[in-house]
Amino acid sequence: MAESDNIVVETAEKIFADLADPQTINNDKTNAWQAPLWQALSEAGLPLSWVADDLGGSGASLADGFALLNAAGRFAVAVPLAETMLAGWLLAQAKIASPEGEMTMLPATPKDRIGLDADGALSGRARGVPFAKMAKHFAVLAHGKDGISIALIDTGKARVEAGLNVGYDHSDTVTLDKVQPIAIKPAPKGFEQTHLMLMGGVARSLQIAGALESMLDISVRYSNERVAFEKKIAKFQAVQHNLARLAGESAAALAAATSAADAIANAKSFNDEIYLEAASAKIRCAEAAEKGGGIAHQVHGAIGFTMEHILHRYSLRALAWRDDFGSESYWAVELGKLVANRGADELWPLVASR
């Protein structure tokens, strides 16, 4: 998705270019850029892309929303756009209308659990919740004795301990102690926390792929400008081969992420094939974030290690996104178990089915 091919992405890219330019943001120490960016995104209906009109959203397709997240990754967008989209998507699963404003979702890792008690109150702790501190509402996936429910709560009812991920974005701990939700409904039959994690993982994969595309772009540009030993560093074979590897990692991340997005957008249910696609995307994109980001830094030398330079906006965020909705090692264990459980002779049919 190197160029925009739909109206949602075109709209978003225009807003990002005007209000989320990485260099401008990087120079701004006051966070004054955040409010106008969020306002423009909201006016365009982008944070609630995945929410139908009758539930308060703009009703874009899953595919368009995924393409939007890839574009957001290309700009390393640091407002809760992905989080609000995912929260709206989660609420829509139970036909709960989305409110206006920033949202995020609980839990944000596979192992955390929010419980629902007999009085309809929610309790539990969720770690690593992206942008919890900036959100007005939480969409919550809760386990009760009758199965899984989806709820909307006011963030004022929760205790939020602020934290930062390695990309300097909010990654907070949220504790619920007998919180009464604004709305709560049972999740559709068969819906599991794993589905939310896979969906979140694909969102992060697309963002990582987008960040890598930009890292490749700025690294190539820099290597064609920077002169050392009396020639552009782009002319050194060692640098060329490093950049070729970065292109490979960027391409692999993009292929894995867009394939998983396409799979989910066209899926009727979360079966083994979707699991393979989504888990693989998170694993492979996380690996690419490490290898590709490392090369981008190597090409830039010391300047890329400064706060002044924009490279870290992409490289550190891509690394941070690895941790959300289950790390690559978590998904590798789960995917490995699934493959082993299906048996050796069912591995190739699974891979070939995609």
């Binding site: 998705m1 190197a2 160029e3 595309e213 490749l216 772009d217 190539v220 540009r221 290597s223 064609n224 782009a234 002319k235 074979q237 640098v239 060329q240 081969h241 950049l243 070729a244 590897r245 292109a247 490979g248 960027s250 391409a251 692999a252 993009l254 292929a255 894995a256 867009t258 394939s259 997005a261 396409d262 799979a263 393979l276 696609e277 888990a279 693989s280 995307a281 694993i283 492979r284 690996e287 690559e328 090692s329 998904w331 590798a332 264990v333 789960e334 995917l335 490995g336 178990k337 493959v339 082993a340 459980n341 048996g343 050796a344 002779d345 591995l347 190739w348 891979v351 070939a352 995609r354």
Partner: protein, 386 residues
């Protein structure tokens, strides 16, 4: 964006899945009949002429070519399915693989009509085997340093010189080779090479086997001494082979054979760890499967671009770079994990035997058909670095 690399999520159409079932059923019959053992990966030693004919009879060779040359006019994606199923099954494809993938398409494009009518149907029937004559003792990755001469004579050319590392030359009926017809010019060092169709097993050609570190003899030295090639066996422009060599590379470099060469050790590892793996094994297998899935999706995507008539040379080079590095590392990663497999695993010996072979095979994977260094040079050019 500098680099508009695209890997769109192409899906194989429904007709491919029907074909896949047919190929699997055919291979299962061949295995049952004892034609080959899917657990024995060292198939490269195996020449299976009868199997080759049966694959041809199925219509699975030259399947994308025009019907008048014996082809089926089927899609590139259908050919992709046949190729990957054969690879994964460890089927003995050596006799027909080069002709089907590479030599046939070159003939289709550059051979005179009567040669096409004579040879292409025989490739489709699985009757003939091809080799590729590129490397020479002092010309490997640097293709344009080739020195083997084609000297003008009455009605054709006389060939003198030596090709080397020529896979299958010892069983091949034909070779497509490049020979020097003129010296390079000052302006263009790539000038002066011409592509020829060589009929093997003829006077003036001597094939000497070369032992490989796997213990096999699949490549050869081919010595030409006043070997005569008639004029109508010239393929394309005299002195202009360099213009013809590049467009086929996308086909050669992006296929499933570029990451499935050592795949069998992964299957066998999954069998050895059983249905309830420990955390370490599960994580190792999960990562390898995620990487495999990603490469296959990239490779299918390139196949889709080829089907759409594009020439994704950079994308194909990326697939071969990542794919061959992966299949090279795979036996070592599997070996890491195999260290923890229970002594009681029933396929332990099979896995060990396979690892032994895969580890010896691994070094060649990033050399054959375009080294990693050459590929990264092509990618760098695509990025605008050279």
């Amino acid at each position: 964006m500098t680099a508009a690399l695209r890997f769109d999520p192409i899906r194989l159409p429904e007709k491919c899945e029907q074909l896949r079932k047919e190929v699997r059923a055919f291979l299962a019959e061949e295995i049952a009949a004892g034609t080959f053992d899917p657990h024995q990966p060292n198939r490269e030693d195996t020449d299976a002429p009868e199997f080759s004919r049966r694959v041809g009879a199925k219509g699975w060779l030259g399947m994308t070519w025009p019907k008048k040359y014996g082809g089926q006019e089927r899609s590139f994606l259908e050919r992709y399915v046949v190729t990957e199923e054969m690879r994964v099954a460890n089927a003995p494809t050596r006799r027909f693989f080069v002709a089907d993938r590479q030599s046939g398409p070159v003939l289709l494009k550059y051979a005179p009509e009567h040669i096409k009518m004579e040879i292409l149907p025989r490739i489709c029937r699985g009757e003939i085997c091809f080799a590729i004559g590129m490397s020479e003792p002092n010309s490997g990755s640097d293709l344009f340093a080739a020195k083997t001469r084609a000297t003008r004579t009455d009605g054709g050319y006389l060939i003198n010189g030596t090709k080397i590392w020529t896979s299958s030359a010892h069983i091949a009926d034909y070779m497509i080779a490049i020979f020097r017809t003129s010296p390079p010019t000052k302006e263009n060092r790539r000038h002066g090479l011409t592509q020829f169709l060589v009929k093997m097993k003829q006077p003036g050609i001597k094939v000497n086997p070369i032992g490989q570190i796997t213990g096999q003899y699949e490549f050869n030295e081919v010595v030409f001494t006043d070997h005569f090639i008639p004029d109508d066996h010239v393929l394309g422009e005299v002195d202009g082979a360099w213009k013809q060599a590049t467009s086929e590379l996308a086909y050669e470099r992006s296929g499933p054979e570029r990451f499935l060469e050592t795949y069998y050790v992964l299957t066998e590892l999954v069998r050895a760890v059983g249905p309830n793996p420990d955390t370490r094994s599960a994580e190792g297998i999960g990562r390898l499967v995620a990487q495999l899935h990603t490469m296959r999706r990239m490779s299918v995507s390139v196949a889709g671009m080829l089907e759409a008539g594009k020439e994704p040379v950079v994308e194909a080079s990326i697939v071969k770079d990542i794919g061959t590095v992966w299949e090279q590392q795979l036996p070592h990663r599997v070996r890491d994990l195999a260290a923890f497999v229970e002594e009681t695993a029933t396929n332990r010996e099979t896995l060990e035997r396979q690892l032994d072979f895969a580890i010896k095979t691994a070094p060649k994977l990033t050399i054959q058909g375009g080294t990693t260094e050459v590929l990264r040079g092509i990618i760098a050019r695509g990025l605008g670095l050279r």
